[in-house]
C-alpha cells in the first residue's frame, strides 16, 4: 500500500494486498471442496446401501452401457487435462492459447453433460425412472448431482472466460481460473469414483 499515501483515494490495490487476497480465496476454496467431498461421500453411502434395492425393476447390469460410460470417462479426463493446459498457458502469459484450451475444456464439458442427459433420457424411456426403485433414486441422484456440478463448472468457466477477455491476466482473474481449474479436477476425481463404484461394480456382477 506504499504508493497510496496522503489523501488521494485510488482504486489501485497494491500487488501485495492483492496476493493476500488471492491466498485467502484459494484456501477458502479448498475448504469448500472438503465439505463438498463430504456431501458426495454421503450420497455414495446412500447409493451403496440402496443399490440392491431394485424392487423387481431394472438392475445395474441391465442398464449400464459399457461403451457409453467409457466414452464419458474419456471425455472428462481429457477435459481435465486441457484445463490443466489452460492454467499452464496462463502461467506462461500466453493469452490466446489460454483462451483456446479453456474453450476446448468447455466444449468437452458440454459433450459430457450431453451424453449424460442422453443416458438419463434413454433409461427413463425404458421405464427406469428415478421413481421406479430406491436403487434408481440413488443412481439418478448421485450421478445427477455430479452432472449438476459439472454444469455449474461450465457456467463458471464461461464467466471466467468473459472476465479474462475483459480484464486480461491479472491476480483476480488468475485466481478465478485457478479455482475453476481446481474445481474441475475435483469433479474429475469424483467421477472416477462414480465410474468405479457405480458403473464398473455395476456391470461386473
Amino acid at each position: 500500500m506504499a504508493e497510496v499515501t496522503g489523501s488521494p483515494i485510488s482504486n489501485q490495490q497494491s500487488f501485495e494486498h492483492g496476493m493476500e487476497e488471492e491466498e485467502k480465496h484459494i484456501l477458502g476454496f479448498w475448504i469448500f471442496l472438503a465439505s463438498d467431498l463430504v456431501l458426495f461421500a454421503c450420497l455414495f453411502a446412500t447409493y451403496l446401501v440402496l443399490r440392491t434395492h431394485t424392487d423387481g425393476g431394472p438392475t445395474e447390469a441391465q442398464l449400464f452401457d459399457i461403451p457409453m460410460f467409457t466414452l464419458e470417462t474419456f471425455i472428462l479426463l481429457t477435459s481435465s487435462f486441457t484445463c490443466g493446459l489452460a492454467v499452464r498457458e496462463m502461467r506462461n502469459g500466453h493469452f490466446g492459447r489460454l483462451m483456446g484450451w479453456l474453450a476446448v475444456t468447455v466444449l468437452l464439458g458440454l459433450a459430457f453433460v450431453g451424453i449424460e442427459v442422453n443416458e438419463f433420457i434413454t433409461y427413463s424411456l425404458e421405464g427406469a425412472t428415478m421413481q421406479r426403485s430406491a436403487f434408481l433414486s440413488g443412481f439418478f441422484t448421485l450421478v445427477g448431482t455430479h452432472g449438476l456440478h459439472v454444469s455449474l463448472g461450465i457456467v463458471w468457466m464461461i464467466s471466467v472466460g468473459i472476465q479474462l477477455i475483459r480484464d486480461r491476466i491479472q491476480p483476480t482473474t488468475a485466481r478465478k481460473l485457478f479455482n475453476a481449474g481446481l474445481y474441475w479436477h475435483f469433479l474429475d476425481v469424483v467421477w472416477v469414483m462414480i465410474f468405479t463404484v457405480v458403473y464398473l461394480m455395476g456391470v461386473m456382477k
Partner: protein, 646 residues
C-alpha cells in the same frame, strides 16, 4: 396454491387466525413507522446492504432473540397443555406442530444465530483484523439464514406447520403420512439456512487462519477464537450430511423418489443415520464456542490468565473430533447390534473426559482469583452445576442398556434441555452481556439482569428436575395429554410453573435491554471490564474499519500485558496512519436470499414456475457478482483521524 392457503386459514384454529391478523397488523405498523420517521433509506444503507461483520452480528443477535421469543411461546403453550391431566387447550395435531417448531426453531434459529452473532462481532476484533475473510459472503450467509427462518415461520399461518418432530423421521415425514406442505417448509427452510451455515464455517476458518495480526501465533490466540475455529471445522464436516438428508427427503416428497419410503425398496434408517451424522455434531457446534466464551469470562472476571491454556486448546479439538463419531447413540434401540452399540457407547462417554478437563481448568482459574460477580460471570457460574448434572445424565443415556430404559422418555427431554439451556443458552447469554458494551457502547443494567438471572435459573430447575422423575415414572415425550390415573399430574404442574418462571426471566431481559438503551451506563473507555484481549483496546462501539492501525502482538492476553507494562502504545509499530481499504456495501446478498426464498416457497407448494423464477434469480445474482468489478473503497487518513478523535 392461493385457494389452498385461503382454505387453510378459513378452517384453522382461532389461535392461528388471530396470529395471522396480528402479523398483518404488525407489518402494517412497521411499514407505517418506517415511512413516518423516514427510516427506509437508513435501513437500506446502514443495515440491509451492509457487509460490516459487526452489523451482521447485531442482526443475527436481534433475529435470534426474536426467535427465542417465538420458541419460548411455543414452550409455554406446550407446558400449559401438560399442566393438568386431560387438558384440551391444544389438540393432538396442534401439539405435534408446536413441539416440532419449538425444537427446530430453538436449535437452528436460536442457538445457531446466537453463535454466529458472537462469532461475527468478536472474532475479527480478537485477532486484530479489519474484517472477515469474505465480507460479501458473510452477508450472503446472514440473508440465507434470515430468509430460511422467515420461510419456516410462515408455515404457521400459510398452509400448516411441520408436525413430525424436529428430527422429521421418515416414513412419518413422507408424503404418505404427512401430505400437507408442513414438512416441505421444514426441508426447504433448513436447506436454505444450512447453505448459509456452511459458508459461515468456511469464512471463519479462513479468517482465523489467514488474518491474524502480526505476532499472533496460533498458540497466542484467545480461547474464544480457538473455540470458533473448532466449531467451524465441525460445521464443514457435519452440515453437508444434513444437506443430503434434507435433499433426499425433499426429493421423496416433491419428485416422488424412494430413498426413505416404505415402498419400492426405500430405507428409512438411512435418513436416521444421515440426520444424526449432522445432528449430534450440531450439539457440539453450539456448545464449543460457549466453552470459549466461558474461558474469556472466567479469566477476565477472576483477573487471572486462564489455567492450562494448552490443555484447553487440545480438549477443544478432541471434543470436535470425538463428537463426530458418536451419532449412533441416538438410535441404540433401533437394532444396530451389540458390537456397534458398544462402540458408540464408549465413544459417547469419552467426550466427557476433555469436557471435564475444561471444567477443572475454569475452576482452577477462579481459585485464588479476584472474582467479580458481574452478569457474565453469574451465568458462567450457573452453567457449571447445570452442565455437571446434564453431563452425568448424559453418561446414563450413553450407556446403551440404560438407553433402552430411558429412550423417548422425559428423562431425555430433561437431559438435553439441561445441556442445551445450561450450556448453549447460558453461555451465549454470558457472551451477550460480556460483549454488549463493545457492540452498542453501553452496559446493560445489572439489577434487572440479576432478576432475570434468578427467575431463569430457579425456573429452570423447577421446570426440568421433575421431568427426570416423570421420565422414570414412564411418561414418554411427545404425548399431548395423559389421564389422571398415571399420577403424573403434580409433577407436571410443578414443571409448568417452572416454565412460566423462565418466561418471566426472559421478560426481564427484554425490560433490561429497553431500560438500558435509555439509562444504561455509557462505556466511554472501550474497556469497561478491564479486559485482556484485543477487542478491549478499541473504542466502543468500534469504528467500521476496526483498527486504525493493525496491532502487533507479543503474547497471550495481549491487551492485558500491555496495560500491565503501561505500554498500550506498543500495540502499534508506528504512529503514522495509512489509508484503509474496505469493501463496498452491496444489495446482492439480500436479493440472493430473496431469490432463494422465492424458490423455496414455490417448491413448498409444488409450484414449479415460481421455483424456477427463484432459481434463475439465484443464478443471475451469482453471475452478476462474478462479473462485477467491485474493488471496495479507501478511507483517507483525514477521515480516520476524525473518527478516532470523536
Amino acid at each position: 396454491m392461493f385457494n389452498q392457503l385461503v382454505g387453510y386459514l378459513r378452517e384453522a384454529d382461532p389461535l392461528i387466525q388471530m396470529s395471522a391478523v396480528a402479523i398483518v397488523f404488525t407489518l402494517i405498523g412497521i411499514v407505517a413507522a418506517l415511512t413516518y420517521y423516514r427510516k427506509w433509506g437508513w435501513l437500506w444503507r446502514e443495515w440491509i446492504t451492509t457487509v460490516d461483520h459487526k452489523k451482521i452480528g447485531i442482526m443475527y443477535l436481534i433475529c435470534a432473540l426474536l426467535m427465542l421469543f417465538r420458541g419460548g411461546v411455543d414452550a409455554l403453550l406446550m407446558r400449559t397443555q401438560l399442566a393438568f391431566p386431560g387438558m384440551n387447550f391444544l389438540d393432538a395435531q396442534h401439539y405435534n406442530e408446536i413441539f416440532t417448531t419449538h425444537g427446530t426453531i430453538m436449535i437452528l434459529f436460536v442457538a445457531m444465530p446466537l453463535l454466529f452473532a458472537m462469532m461475527n462481532i468478536v472474532v475479527p476484533l480478537q485477532i486484530g483484523a479489519r474484517d472477515v475473510a469474505f465480507p460479501f459472503l458473510n452477508a450472503v450467509s446472514f440473508w440465507l439464514f434470515f430468509f430460511g427462518a422467515l420461510l419456516f415461520n410462515l408455515s404457521f399461518v400459510l398452509g400448516g406447520s411441520p408436525d413430525a418432530g424436529w428430527v422429521s423421521y421418515p416414513p412419518l415425514a413422507e408424503l404418505s403420512h404427512s401430505p400437507g406442505p408442513g414438512i416441505n417448509y421444514y426441508v426447504l427452510s433448513l436447506q436454505i439456512s444450512g447453505i448459509g451455515s456452511i459458508a459461515t464455517g468456511i469464512n471463519f476458518i479462513v479468517t482465523i487462519l489467514k488474518m491474524r495480526a502480526p505476532g499472533m501465533t496460533l498458540m497466542r490466540m484467545p480461547l474464544f477464537t480457538w473455540s470458533v475455529l473448532a466449531s467451524c471445522i465441525v460445521i464443514i464436516f457435519a452440515f453437508p450430511a444434513f444437506t443430503v438428508a434434507l435433499a433426499l427427503l425433499g426429493l421423496d416428497r416433491i419428485a416422488g423418489t424412494h430413498f426413505f419410503t416404505m415402498q419400492h425398496g426405500g430405507n428409512p434408517m438411512m435418513y436416521v443415520n444421515l440426520f444424526w451424522i449432522w445432528g449430534h455434531p450440531e450439539v457440539y457446534i453450539a456448545i464449543l464456542p460457549v466453552y470459549g466464551i466461558f474461558s474469556e469470562v472466567v479469566s477476565t472476571f477472576s483477573r487471572k490468565t486462564i489455567f492450562g491454556y494448552k490443555s484447553m486448546v487440545i480438549s477443544l479439538m478432541l471434543i470436535s473430533v470425538i463428537g463426530y463419531f458418536v451419532w449412533v447413540h441416538h438410535f441404540f434401540t433401533m437394532g444396530a447390534g451389540p458390537g456397534v452399540n458398544s462402540f458408540f457407547s464408549v465413544a459417547s462417554m469419552a467426550v466427557g473426559i476433555p469436557t471435564g478437563v475444561k471444567v477443572f481448568n475454569w475452576l482452577f482459574t477462579m481459585f485464588r482469583g479476584r472474582i467479580r460477580l458481574t452478569l457474565p460471570m453469574l451465568w458462567t457460574l450457573a452453567f457449571i452445576p447445570c452442565f455437571a448434572i446434564g453431563g452425568a445424565t448424559g453418561v446414563m443415556l450413553a450407556a446403551a442398556p440404560g438407553d433402552y430404559q430411558f429412550h423417548n422418555s422425559y428423562v431425555v427431554i430433561a437431559h438435553f434441555h439441561q445441556t442445551l439451556i445450561g450450556g448453549a443458552v447460558f453461555g451465549l447469554l454470558a457472551g451477550m452481556y460480556y460483549w454488549w458494551p463493545k457492540m452498542f457502547g453501553f452496559k446493560l443494567n445489572e439489577t434487572l439482569g440479576k432478576w432475570a438471572f434468578w427467575f431463569f435459573n430457579i425456573g429452570f430447575y423447577v421446570c426440568f428436575m421433575p421431568q427426570y422423575a416423570l421420565g422414570l415414572m414412564g411418561m414418554t415425550r411427545r404425548v399431548y395429554t395423559y389421564p389422571a390415573e398415571t399420577g403424573w399430574g403434580t409433577l407436571n404442574f410443578v414443571s409448568t410453573i417452572g416454565a412460566y418462571l423462565m418466561g418471566i426471566g426472559f421478560l426481564f431481559i427484554v425490560v433490561q435491554v429497553l431500560y438500558s438503551i435509555r439509562y444504561g451506563e455509557r462505556d466511554t473507555t472501550g474497556d469497561p471490564w478491564d479486559g485482556r484481549t484485543l477487542e478491549w483496546s478499541l473504542p466502543s462501539p468500534v469504528p467500521h474499519y476496526n483498527f486504525a492501525q493493525i496491532p502487533t502482538v507479543h503474547g497471550r492476553d495481549a491487551w492485558w500485558e500491555m496495560k500491565q507494562q503501561r505500554k498500550e502504545d506498543s500495540l502499534f509499530s508506528t504512529k503514522e496512519l495509512k489509508p484503509i481499504h474496505m469493501p463496498n456495501n452491496s444489495a446482492l446478498p439480500f436479493f440472493m436470499g430473496l431469490a432463494f426464498f422465492v424458490a423455496g416457497f414455490g417448491l413448498v407448494f409444488n409450484q414449479f414456475m415460481i421455483a424456477t423464477v427463484g432459481l434463475i434469480g439465484v443464478v443471475v445474482c451469482m453471475l452478476w457478482r462474478s462479473l462485477e468489478k467491485d474493488t471496495g473503497h479507501w478511507i483517507s487518513v483525514d477521515e480516520i483521524k476524525q473518527m478516532e478523535a470523536s
